[in-house]
């Protein structure tokens, strides 16, 4: 992969929240990249830092209490984290589009859909309102909204949940961004509507070389769309690699535990079979962690895990895992830190 194809390169991103209870290291040294036209799935449970990572990149973390305290995030040759407010504003609407979980709260209820889509075109692409509204109609058509020429005059409350999410996608796509960040885009939707939105995102993947970062807690959604996957736990990426590789050969006990704990509707019902659960609770991010954050819940834990935090080791090519224990060979990893 040459540098031209690497649209985003994030290194050692660190974001902290200073709360009354103490300092929360919500993102604790996260590194990842995104290439042209690929879909990166970021998966993890609530509070693992997956949304905060992406909001940090776009300087959307409310300060105070939050602060990005370290790292770089290069979009091409420019560092997003050191940009001025006006520069990052242009990036947010032109180069990186974003869609959120709840399509109702992310749309402005008192503006028509057409104005909300056309807005960024007028602002950043110097289009006339007339031309921008024409483009809005094309975009609504592209995201599968019937009768778009009429619907641009409607307000958000006149759309159903799935349709609103389509509108959000149209807004995010308006300026033909290089990256689309989708944060739990289907979590608030019903199953059959989720299938429609996933189908739409699948059709959009790679169109005009757009890369996509898909944040979700649903391992099924990742399996459907992602080329590569990053598994997050307690503010860190604990495993990353090609989706097929990570799912077929999970190398971190957390990834393995998650995949084993899921019942599958394509598997037979077994009356006697219990689900394999991960014991314990997700970590309290206020407590400082020595060593591996997953150690208190891990069934392979040994002394080193409690004192030293493992880095992401290269396992095979792109497949990396942050764990002292080699699941495959059932031995300690022979790597010095």
């Amino acid at each position: 992969m040459n540098d031209v194809d690497r649209v985003l390169k994030v290194e050692d991103l660190r974001t902290e929240f200073h709360t009354i209870g103490g300092v929360v290291k919500a993102v604790n040294g996260v590194s990842f990249h995104l290439d042209r036209g690929e879909v990166l799935g970021v998966v993890g449970e609530s509070g693992c830092g997956k949304s905060v990572s992406m909001m940090s990149l776009l300087q959307l973390i409310p300060n105070p209490p939050g602060r990005v305290v370290g790292g770089t995030a290069f979009l091409g040759d420019r560092d997003l984290l050191s940009m001025s407010q006006s520069e990052i504003r242009a990036v947010r609407s032109v180069e990186i589009g974003m869609i959120f979980q709840d399509p109702m709260t992310s749309l402005n209820p008192v503006l028509t859909i057409g104005i909300q889509i056309a807005e960024s075109l007028v602002e950043h692409k110097e289009m006339s309102w007339r031309a921008a509204l024409d483009r809005s109609i094309e975009l609504l058509d592209k995201v599968g909204i019937p009768d778009p020429a009429e619907r641009i005059k409607d307000y958000p409350h006149q759309f159903s949940g799935g349709m609103r999410q389509r509108v959000m996608i149209a807004i995010a796509l308006a300026c033909s961004p290089r990256i689309l960040i989708a944060d739990e885009p289907t979590t608030a939707l019903d199953v059959t509507i989720q299938a429609q939105i996933l189908e739409l995102l699948n059709d959009l993947r790679g169109s005009e070389g757009m890369g996509m970062i898909l944040i979700t807690h649903d391992l099924g959604v990742i399996a459907r769309l992602a080329d590569r996957v990053a598994v997050m736990y307690a503010g860190q990426i604990v495993e990353t690699g090609a989706a097929v590789e990570v799912y077929s050969n999970p190398s971190h006990p957390y990834t393995q535990g998650l995949l084993e704990s899921l019942p599958r509707h394509d598997n037979e019902h077994k009356v006697s079979e219990r689900l394999k659960s991960i014991d314990g609770q997700p970590p309290n991010m206020l407590d400082p962690i020595d060593g591996c954050p997953f150690a208190p819940r891990c069934k392979y834990v040994f002394d080193r895990c409690r004192s030293e935090d493992p880095n992401l080791f290269v396992q095979e090519g792109q497949h990396r895992v942050a764990c002292w224990w080699d699941l495959e060979n059932e031995c300690e990893r022979n790597i010095e830190q």
Binding site: D190, L258, P263, R264, H265, D266, N267, S277, D279
Partner: protein, 354 residues
């Protein structure tokens, strides 16, 4: 699978004689009122004539999308909503005609686990008093015995007895759901309605809570109505499953029968819509993506409820509403087109779609 299937069949066949709960033509309509005089101008038919039985010891899954009436059904069974029509018979007694004293006795035997563990616990009561409350109401134990029982219940759900003095905000979602389960068990019920008990929980915690719910069924001999939208979990936990759409049951069958040989096009598309957590399989799967949204339950379509989105719709579907018919022993579905499609060939609709 065969072993499991046969085993389960034997279990429910021996139990077939006497149902624990019978829901007969249950209707729950919510009035729509307009104008100065608040005259009723229509009704949201949340549940519109559903019938099913639940047998002792089984877990009956009720699945559907939001607004299909599954939660309303659960609440109407416990008489938390007054049914508009129809009858609910629990252990031979029709609940509609009970006076409040006899209903209270019945309530002791029917409990509920709620979806949102953050909203269903009183933030001003300690965990201990939350769990003790149903015991105080339904029994005449003295304080020491109540405390012992609370401690025992906490242990049953996997919490240590010293949490009794703490308040709900000190617990995580999974722990709160355990507290909610302990409260439901406090009155020693026979039947528990689980209303999406895991959908508010993190993935790694869901399995813990589901295992607890399953263990309790085996240990205490509970019977469940398990309401959910996650078909994978429904398949894991239920013996029989009913699929609801717009206030009606469109298909009802034993779990494996439903997942391997669904007859109703809605069930088939619902199953095909859920992504499988395996990229190799997921990318090869054929799926039916339904067009459009669920119609407004205040203004449902005239014929078959699913006719606005069905990939197999014919003219007849738009005129007459199909009845829920038994196509094979214990397998019910409401669709005009099952005859032509053929019964028992496994997901026939998916083949046709492609």
């Amino acid at each position: 699978m065969l072993v499991g299937g046969i085993l389960k069949m034997n279990v429910s066949e021996t139990l077939n004689n006497k149902s624990m709960l019978s829901v007969k033509n249950l209707k729950v309509h919510f009035p729509i009122r307009r104008g100065l005089l608040q005259r009723q101008v229509g009704a949201v038919r949340a549940v519109d004539g559903i019938t099913f039985d639940i047998f002792p010891g089984e877990t009956f899954g009720l699945v559907g999308e939001s607004g299909c009436g599954k939660t309303t059904t659960g609440r109407a069974i416990l008489q938390l909503y007054k049914p508009t029509a129809g009858e609910i018979v629990f252990d031979g007694v029709s609940l509609a005609h009970l006076d409040s004293r006899s209903m209270r006795k019945m309530r002791k035997r029917m409990q509920m686990i709620f979806q949102d563990p953050f909203a269903s616990l009183n933030p001003r009561l300690t965990v201990g008093s939350t769990i003790a409350e149903p015991i105080r109401i339904h029994s005449s134990l003295d304080n020491q015995k109540i405390e012992d029982k609370v401690n025992y219940l906490l242990e049953v759900v996997g919490l240590s007895p010293d949490v009794a003095k703490r308040y709900p905000h000190e617990f995580s979602g999974g722990q709160r759901q355990r507290i909610g389960i302990a409260r439901a068990l406090a009155s020693e019920p026979d039947f528990v309605v689980c209303d999406e008990p895991i959908s508010a929980l993190d993935v790694s915690i869901q399995a813990q809570v589901v295992n607890l719910i399953e263990d309790l069924r085996a240990d205490i001999g509970l019977t469940y109505l398990f309401i959910g939208h996650d078909l994978s979990m429904i398949r894991h936990i239920s013996d029989r499953v009913a699929v609801m759409y717009l206030g009606h049951i469109v298909e009802l069958a034993k779990t494996d029968r439903l997942f391997l040989g669904a007859l109703h096009p809605y069930t088939v598309s619902l199953i095909s819509a859920i992504p499988v957590p395996d990229p190799v399989i997921e990318r090869k799967r054929r799926r039916i993506v339904l067009k459009g949204d669920v119609p407004n339950p205040a203004n449902p379509p005239k014929g078959c409820l699913f006719c606005t989105r069905c990939p197999l719709v014919i003219d007849e579907c738009r005129i007459t509403r199909p009845e829920l018919k038994e196509w094979m022993p214990g397998h019910y579905a409401a669709c005009h087109r099952i005859d032509e499609m053929g019964v028992g060939k496994g997901l026939p609709l998916i083949e046709i779609e492609q």
